[in-house]
Amino acid sequence: MKISLNHLKTYVDINVPVEELCSRMVMAGFEVEDIEKEGDNIKNVVAAKILKITPHENSDHLQICSMDVGADTPVQIVTGAQNISEGDYVPAALDGSYLPNGAHITAGKLRGAESNGMLCSGEELGLTEEDYEGASVNGILILKGAPAPGTDIREVLGLDDCVIDFKITANRPDCNCFLGVAKEISVVLGTKFSAPKPEYKTAGRNISDYISIEVHNFDLCPRYIGRVVTNLRIKESPEWMKKAITASGMRPINNIVDITNFVMLETGQPMHAFNYNDIRGHKIIIRNAEAGESITTLDGKKYDLKEDMLVIADGEQPSCLAGIMGGKESEIENDTTDLFLESAKFRRDNIRHTCRALGIRTEASSRYERGTDIMNVEYASERALQLIYELDAGDIIDGAIDINGGLPEERVIKVTTDKILELVGVDVPDEKIVSILNSLGLPTDINGKELTVRVPSIRDDIEGRADLAEEVMRIYGYDHIVGRPMRGETVRGRKLPERIKTDKIKAFLCGAGAYEIATYSFIGSGAADTLLLDENDERRNQIKIINPLGDEYSVLRTQLTTSMLTVLSTNINRKIPSGRFFEISKRFIAESLPITEQPDELATMAIGIYGEDEDFFTLKGIIEGVMKLCGAHTQYERSEEPYLHPGRQALVKANNTPAVVFGEVHPAVAASYGIDCRVYTAEIKLDMLLSINKRKTVYKPLPKYPAVERDFALLCDKELPVGTLENAIAKGAGRLLESIRLFDVYSGSQIPEGKKSVAYSVWLRSADGTLSDTEIEAVSSAIIKNLEAAGAELRK
């Protein structure tokens, strides 16, 4: 809410500088977004007297002026203007000055003559005729009177106002107006406040001879007041009104329209003026729109209406979109002679709903949306008539039609001061509480400790002790609240087990050289296509955002790989040679689309690596580490993820449930992310891993007897996975197996075509004693037997 400070002063005494006013208002709950000082963009421009004018030798239109600018010696300024005479007082922009249009004036030479500044026109100072008489003259602005040379021009022109932009919180719709803010200022500063008392004379006759009003829906329109003014004398509004309206960001139009706007700005109650002669049947009906109806509003746009929208109709059709915008047909124009003036209360949620549905927002509708006061409807109407009377804008017809569905009874809150202070923990004296509430317009009595607070309808935000506590504290001062340590038994708070486990996994990954990343939870709708996902892949069931910021952020992610690939791409394209990254976040899986209930939010982890030293197995090593940390028993199988390299990817089962898919990214997919090197990603169902109950660690005694190492050099088909051989060794060694280490895989010269050589070291150990040669031999042959069964033979 932007308000002119000078205008505010017509309602309330303001005895402090504007900065102090603003900081005190901030501490009372009214944030100040901006203070715009009039003339703030004019610097180093002074009133000056023209001492002497001489023609310029090298120009037939330039004149050289000797100026008294309040300095010891006159200053020479060259001007092209012709409307000046010796002895005139004019604005002079001195060397180093600034003008509102951004111009920076410095000393220089004009056709060889020294000029130490510039004489200014009204326009150059940003003035209009309304600001200063003579400002629109084409030429230099001639100042009235004889201001002392050297006086700041802003002082001379009376540019001492400023516009304060208060941020009004949603609970205080009563402060979206001059009077509301002025009232608060009076409480904060402790100064006098007075609202205008509407008085006017009528021209006789009776409104009932002019118009009838029907309200068909009191739920949406609880109160409607109509007045009629005839013999309109439409003209410009007076300067003070135009200034007040302009300061608040509205445009002056003519006296009638300006009065309705001014009254809205002053009282917070929107007004609407109809051209009386355009009201068919001289009948006003407040009703819901009918199916198929439409309206063309003041701005010339046509809207199709729905039945839940409220309209002001005449005898035939909608004439105004209630509380939002008037109709084109009944607009006030310069030749309008008679006026029907509306002041009404409309239900705020209905106005908001209609505005959203039609995509309109006006000064009036935004006030209705926030809430208006049913009792204020009458005051605003009276105030408008007072202004019509005072500005001689028309003849006011006797009588008002006031239709309402019942006016609310005054609400009374009874509560003890203790109950209020219990919430804040500060001792505010009872009498202070009473005086603060009274000053805020909440008439309050006290009996013992019990307060009786009468709440006017304008403050329907006040419901109980919590609201009263806030009213008292914001005036008494929040600085009185002194922090105290939390009472009660202080114990360390608990974390969910999932969070504790996740933190451990993160620590492990950081230890493995990976950096945690953070990416958006929504991705582009084409992500599933880019990953070449199958038609029936459940990851295609992406939940769409109804109002996304753009297509690239339009669906909730069902996997984290897309975001990971984007991050890898960013880093690769910035020539960062290598990187390991991980992200833990949620993926959103809908039961069905479109969704009707909350989707499953599954904790998920993505890992992505690239660089010269990275390959499938470095990623596999990281995953094995995570699996071990989570206590998972793992199995590795070939997988068929379309976005991964068909021969370099694996599915990891944890305790027989698929938990991880990882591998080298398919070059075609990598290319669609602008990646031209090998990158490796893993997508891990973290929720699954977190649900594994890790066996409690129990210490195993250290071995007492020596281990025996046996090496096996094998030959097998090239295609045979070494995992099969390891399983065979493990089966053969049975419970004597301590560990298996693969130390060589080779194919090439000396190895038959289609075969490979594989070499293992196997450690055997018994907990019961040193292994004898016979035992070792027996185990070795069992291993060899199993290896042969698996398709390998010992190398000769």
Partner: protein
């Protein structure tokens, strides 16, 4: 005999002290103490002495033998340590050569800050809870005292997914779930992601992070709220930090306050960071609105509580002086490495 022995000893002593290497010493040992060594020979000659002279002479020779053995051992030790010394000297390295890199990644700066915040609140007795990111209108708005078509809905731009389903705009939604699932006394925080349809720029992100705090018990006042926030602010911004309450409005708290901390850059004098104000706004807070308590089945005449919501991204960018919030979501390794 005695003279001969002395002569051998003298010769051996000078030979041992002159020896320069282990090999020479070994040769000397053989020369004097070996099977055919000079002292061994002396012992063998004992037989030629008169029986009464033998014990004394034998003792003399044995003493000389022991003396020489220890002399040799001593010399050997001396030579060995000298050799070690030389070897170590030869092994001197250039300590300015680079260390062998140990791979070490790191947490995202947001989560470093989250973890710090969790530690602070956990030590004050707050439990850490979670809530869903896709919320119902009921939990995100209605039960938080923001009915449909209420102007307070304009305070945030919401991403909608379906009728009544949205991406949560505030972690406050988790307040309600917490109050439904627990009975007072409640001390809980909920850190998490929140979403608002803000166009991306240096200070706005459609995805950001909040930490919601909630306390409900008998006799909770705004002084308790200030106490908790003061402790938090001192741990995050330094022990001299002051906390200021400024009246404000949130639909789910009453009274509501904006909470400012004294600018850690200038100590409150006013600088570029705080735009001359001396204070920086860090969070919104207030006493839980009676309607919200009622909605969760908690009697507002018996219990009171406070809630606060802290913008984690803002604290992160201020702490590390990050000028553009977009850097947090870009994930350039050279950025991530710095934390």
């Amino acid at each position: 005999m005695k003279e001969k022995l002395e002569a051998i000893k003298a010769a051996a002593k000078s030979a041992v002290s002159a020896a320069a290497g282990e090999k020479e010493i070994e040769e000397l040992r053989v020369k004097y103490l070996g099977k055919k060594g000079e002292l061994t020979a002396m012992l063998k000659q004992m037989g030629s002495l008169a029986p009464e002279e033998r014990p004394a002479a034998g003792q003399l020779v044995n003493e000389a033998k022991q003396w020489l053995e220890s002399l040799i051992a001593q010399k050997k030790e001396e030579l060995k340590s000298k050799a070690t010394e030389l070897k170590l000297k030869a092994e001197t390295i250039d300590i300015t050569m680079p260390g062998k890199e140990v791979a070490a990644g790191g947490l995202h700066p947001i989560n470093i800050v989250v973890n710090d915040m969790i530690d602070i609140f956990q030590s004050m007795g707050f439990d850490v809870v979670d809530g869903p990111e896709v919320e119902t209108d009921y939990y995100n708005f209605e039960c938080l005292n923001v009915p449909a078509d209420h102007p307070a809905r304009d305070m945030q731009d919401t991403f909608y997914l379906a009728d009544g389903l949205l991406l949560r705009t505030q972690t406050s939604a988790a307040q309600i779930r917490t109050m439904e699932n627990r009975r007072p006394p409640i001390h809980a925080i909920c850190p998490g992601r929140v979403f608002r349809a803000d166009e991306v720029d240096a200070t706005h992100s459609p995805v950001f992070h909040q930490l919601e705090g909630l306390v409900v018990d008998k006799g909770i006042t705004m002084c308790d709220l200030k106490g908790v926030l003061e402790q938090f602010a001192k741990e995050i911004y330094g022990s001299d930090t002051k906390v200021r309450f400024r009246p404000s409005f949130f639909p789910f708290t009453e009274p509501s306050v904006e909470v400012d901390v004294s600018c850690s850059e200038c100590g409150g004098k006013g600088c570029r960071v705080c735009k001359g104000a001396g204070w920086i706004e860090i969070l919104g807070a207030g006493m839980v609105h009676p309607n919200v308590l009622r909605c969760c089945g908690i009697d507002p005449d018996v219990y009171s509580g406070f809630a606060f919501g802290i913008g984690i991204d803002r604290i992160t960018t201020t702490r590390y002086k990050i000028s553009d919030i977009r850097l947090l979501f870009e994930n350039d390794k050279r950025f991530l490495e710095q934390f």
